[in-house]
Symmetry: D3
Subunit: 325 residues, 6 copies
């Protein structure tokens, strides 16, 4: 293991000290990509948002909140820093106003480092970004397409357009299927529950072939049932985890653009992620954190904790594949 | 169906656009009452409050938050705009300082539109207002008295006086029984749990004949048990739903004057309302939203969602009665 | 005078009552345009912003804050409601994500009502909007082009592009000159002071021919000198007043995207506007209010007060032209 | 000097320690009135408010903020604790809902301790309270009526009624003249500037005979001119100082119900009070602090500092009268 | 029963009135210790904190929030004021900067009043303070050592040092065992769940002999199982209850320094405390409230409610021991 | 000029992107010290605070706010990046709880990089830190002692002890004189005005020989007079600029521990710094930013702007000394 797996030790040095990198990890540049195995990054993109905005401040807030994450998972005992080389690799150099350019900037950035085999774990940004991320992963040769997504959300995000716009945070999981990036039949959407624009609102997800667990179904199945269903749907297909924080209950994540009451509790979210260690987790993101809507800071804290959970899954997966464990 | 059932389409026009009416509905005046079936209104009254105040800013905050409500209920698939004519009818012209005048102003306003058969659904306001609302409903000939109330609250609100005052937010459900507006034996109070002024604090509710489910009982009965009990208590009597948001857990509604830990979760509240579609719902209110105590905005968002739930119940009830479904 | 000049009387009815229209005025639709003389409207556009966002929540916040504005100007004694027909005319039906469409939507909306001779006074929105507003004014035949702007701002907004984007909140006062909408030699920019991207940052304003008063110059000239300079620069040319609230000191308007310390005090801003009553004021806007950055509400309150000041100027100008005074 | 003049020493004991009394003074009860010379008290009354409410939380917030006041005035070098016996005497036992009873409760409380010759310095409460305070001072024999008031405010508070209510925060300085408590010709109102309900809005003050300095006049006169005018108006008549914090600029006191841009700066307010040491200051209040509107806490901090300034004036006046200095 | 058991009656006098003492009780000094049986006090100590700070503002915030607690427990019907003499006894005179002195100041203060047999119930303060409290209890002869603690927390607080510091909020439950103050085998730690500094992080608790219920175990056991385990672990040993509010879920207590998602719900916490009435409760504290992190005020409200619950337990225990019930 | 003088271009890349370094500069480590000329750093120390705390979150908040600083000074036209090599060098590895160790850690860190001739510009931290900074500068051979300080503050910070503590934020400018680090006769303290612990409170500054401008004197002298006095006091002695943000008016910097009304306005502070370009500025700091007290973010924004002003002065001084200009 190299210097990467050495976040600043919070038992010795003040959590408030040093520039806020993700979970206090080293900030690494392209010249260090060869040694790196997991790249934590930020994507302050919100040009896919038609509603209340502000998620471009999400990555900075999550990095700041992540100062409080320590090293070892209390349930699984995974210490990801003993299993893989991890660093914060910053953000894409991204156009700040023109959506098409920004999407390309993200795609290029992701292609570059995933092309080196580095697992991408991202703090978003609005929920458009899985699209350019998956495109980048394919462009970099990191995936061939047809991967699974484990998608947590209050909304299906499979509309065709919103406000005449084809690329936005209401459409990525349709676009990604159309482009062959995702295999919907091996993917699953969990937590859907918001009031709907129209009677056939989430029908798109079913039509595309996604596995869907609405909140009503979630409640009936129980946490164990949901975990089981996730494993069956995804199997051993490469899996990307994408969490819109509005999938969680607003009492856990009030700081988001379209909160919908009655969602998944943070404890359940943690336990779901701690119980799918068998999956071939090849990346993930946590999106739609809108810090200015949550002066308690809980939303960004929970987002940081979810990034830690995904990091644990990815690190163990790397170690397993590389025969370290 | 007329133009009323056409809230601004949030899938096309920015949620932040236009004046904030309830759930983005048309703002209608008395000249349109003849066509209207459900009147959404605000009652920024807080002259019945002896404690922390600020609920007079409630209706504006709920209207603002309601921009994010869409059209279709995710559990019941009810689209109220296809079932009834709905509009925002504004607020009463109400004295801002003299309680007795303000109560009359509310009563007159309610009598006027309920006299046309319009179902009243109100964003309060302190929890005194069910009294002038019920009075207005009777005055307008909308009810004869003796109706049922489905009352969600952390407190019984059946004291005789508070601080020597007979008309305040601690007494309406005693006054309304005394005036014959409510039949307590067909009404039910749910969620009672606050610390008590005295040993016999909520005894008034039992003495008056209310059905009561304290939080301790709620927990034992479970959600399904509570739903069943509601249906049995109310039966087919005309039912008015009144929700003091402090009935919900403060983690769902911190923005209220007298939050009491350990209450009803928003998910449960939604599911209770979605499972009593048989009731003859003739009106409702959501009270005690104190926006300045909740900078996350969750309280007003939840209140707006509850108004949507009541609207779904009322719209289906209208459609059923008018043979539309 | 018609019913329009009858905002709800705050000395009789609670300021917190009724739907939040601008300064509690009647909400009027196109069918009432013929009688109307001043149209207060909102433009929740922020697709021209490359930085911290959230100004799309500006108009709603300004309307809400404007409940506290009364009828008579304390310095000039102008009561605009006795001088002109005034109403809130809502917002454009505006695409929420595609900039080019939204710009057209604004332009069409403005053309429609200014085509009837109605003076436009707008609560923005990011500071791109003077461009589509001026375009709409020309399209509607309300202006011929070549008008004066009295422009208050910490930044010149005369760059050619920002982040490769030609239409954004850093460029409108270059675009509008290029399109012949503004005569820069009869226009004036006041309050410029932010740190600069480059040495020649605000040079564009000088090159285009604008009159410019930087904050350093402002301080030397004093308020009276500035007022005199404004009058000389603009003379009797039709004048549009555009205020980016970051022109004011951040202690007055912290709720904005790019606050720059050391700006114009609100008292000075008020007194400047109260001392240019001779100008031919034909419209105006107050932009860049970002409510979530100011939990004290002062920014939106000040913006509402500035809209009142512009309304006083416009109403007196109408009355003068129509020979009412 | 007794134990009273011993606030907790902030140079030794944590400012955050102990129950929050005013400026960390001893909490004294009626049994100690004989020894006391200045009584600091709170009046959490807001039943005279027709607009945005919440000032009943004012006294608690001011007491909390006052932990940071030390002992010596930096300009005048007055240490009030060396000049007079000072304590916090709590609040009146006050009805929380019925205005008429609450007014009597305040009057009785004030009569009791001013009857012992104790100078009343109060943290309000809405600006109705000078009326019951002056009534109490007369009832207790502390004044005969016809005193001077030095009144700082953005509004004149001399309307006859507001919303049909004769006793409210818009009328006390008319009522008190009618009742002979105040001699308006020896009193002065400073800082008036809010937009007005009607053209003749503040005319009442002139008609009643008050000396008035509007904000426009204030600016012309300058601070020194204002100080001079105060001294001439009041002379050696007993003087009560009443400060509505909205008299200050909202950038100093955003936390109030009806903030009006362009007011008196806190530095000027301090220096005015530090330059009228000759006046026969017999009491005072600081009203209309609405803490929930100011999360920075500056409003309550400034209110606490103003209470300190009034205390310095009163203490020196006592010492002068009793020949201690 | 004496005058002590008479908190201000919130059904008669405004909750916002009077200086904020704990639950509106009388403020008592040492001269009244002989009559007192329960002393509510504050300990604004945070010199044991290596992370985000601000808990020194905790006691003031809890006292302020406690205005809303009434007299009777809604589940157990305990009215502590009928069972024991209760007062707020203020805070220790405590050095504000030098840890060693402050610890001694706390110890001395506790020794003084517990030496009179008064039950200590404290609003903290960082979670170092159980150490000086237990020391003070022993010094005052109130305990002999070897007592039980019922310890609610997300962290074990049994490290040997943190940042080289032996006395801090990460170590008190090791130090107290070393000093013989606590019998770990009769004590229990509940709610442990935070990410860990190292693999053997909480091993210290097991090694010392504590009973431990991690959050994973808590979930498996259920609330009834946990209650049963508490009773078995503690038995009839004298029991001190210490609650770090981060033991609760951050959705209940966001205002704390090291919130960890997925904790104990407030309802469960209340019901646990209401179901251990048999225990010999001899004191308690509620620590780590950091009010500035929770603008909703829920954290301090919940802390105040927990102090009420502990007070009920202690009062009933006193009454039982003294044969009053 | 090297790569250091290349902060991320905010006219091209979103201000919200990348890890928050000071003014978006490169983050440099010790291996790059040889090329560096100005080191921007953070010092999240607050172990010298006896009052309201939280300034350890200051550096992170200032870095975050500094994203909005551009490259060129609008008054002086200085572009520091064309004059000197500038980078963010992070924070010291600093003990988080033990004051004596933390002071040594700071001293060692400063000695290391100033030993290379790098100008230190620091975002604090409480106002104790000038002491270890000056010690480090001497230890590193960067100064010999006897330097000038330009000290902006509401308090003199020249007490001998506070709460028995000799090293705290009330004493550094006494300690530093005692240690020969500062020549008080060539130093100046500006803005003093807080209420005082005792009559002789700030006498220490005079006794030590400091030049002092109280706020009362400041007002009489005017800005130009103050600038002149600064130049005369300091002359050509090496000058360290230390700004306690409470020296500014609380309306500019509410987010600090001990705000005192009536201070220096941010505009004046900027213009003072822009008019002392002749001084031999060898370093500086901006201290006492307590972000949680200012949800508007203005305090941290102003602190970031002041760091920019000091950077301009230092860069020009370097360029002058090295003959670049």
């Amino acid at each position: 293991m190299s210097e990467f797996n050495q976040p600043i030790d919070s038992s010795r040095f003040s959590r408030e000290s040093q520039v806020a990198t993700m979970m206090r990890n080293v900030l690494a540049g392209p010249e260090q990509y060869d040694e790196l195995e997991i790249g934590l990054w930020g994507c302050p993109f919100d040009l896919g948002l038609g509603a209340r905005n502000g998620v471009r401040m999400g990555p900075a807030a999550i990095r700041e909140a992540s100062r409080y994450i320590r090293k070892v998972n209390p349930t699984t005992a995974i210490n990801p820093y003993k299993l893989a080389n991890i660093a914060d690799i910053g953000d894409p150099e991204m156009n700040m106003m023109i959506q098409s350019q920004a999407l390309e900037d993200i795609e290029r950035f992701v292609a570059e480092f995933t092309g080196k085999g580095i697992v991408p774990i991202c703090a978003g940004g609005d929920h458009t970004i899985p699209l350019p991320i998956l495109r980048g992963m394919k462009k970099g040769g990191y995936i061939d397409g047809g991967i699974s997504v484990l998608h947590i959300d209050a909304h299906a995000d499979t509309l065709d357009t919103l406000g005449d716009e084809k690329i936005c945070n209401a459409t990525p999981f349709r676009r990604a299927v159309e482009e062959g990036l995702i295999d919907p039949t091996k993917s699953i959407q969990i937590g859907l529950r918001g009031t709907r624009f129209a009677e056939d609102d989430i029908q798109g997800s079913y039509d595309l072939g996604y596995n869907v667990i609405t909140m009503d179904e979630y409640e009936e199945m129980g946490r164990a049932g949901v975990i089981d269903r996730i494993k069956r749907a995804i199997g051993d297909n490469p899996c990307y985890i994408t969490i819109d924080v509005d999938g969680l209950d607003p009492i856990c994540c009030p700081g988001t653009g379209a909160p919908e009451p009655g969602g998944i509790m943070m404890r359940d979210m943690q336990m779901i992620l701690r119980n799918i260690r068998q999956l071939d987790v090849i990346g993930g993101d946590v999106c739609e954190v809108m810090p200015h809507r949550d002066p308690t800071g809980m939303t960004q804290l929970n987002a940081a904790n979810l990034i830690f959970e995904i990091t644990c899954l990815a690190a163990e997966n790397i170690a397993r594949k590389k025969g370290r464990i």
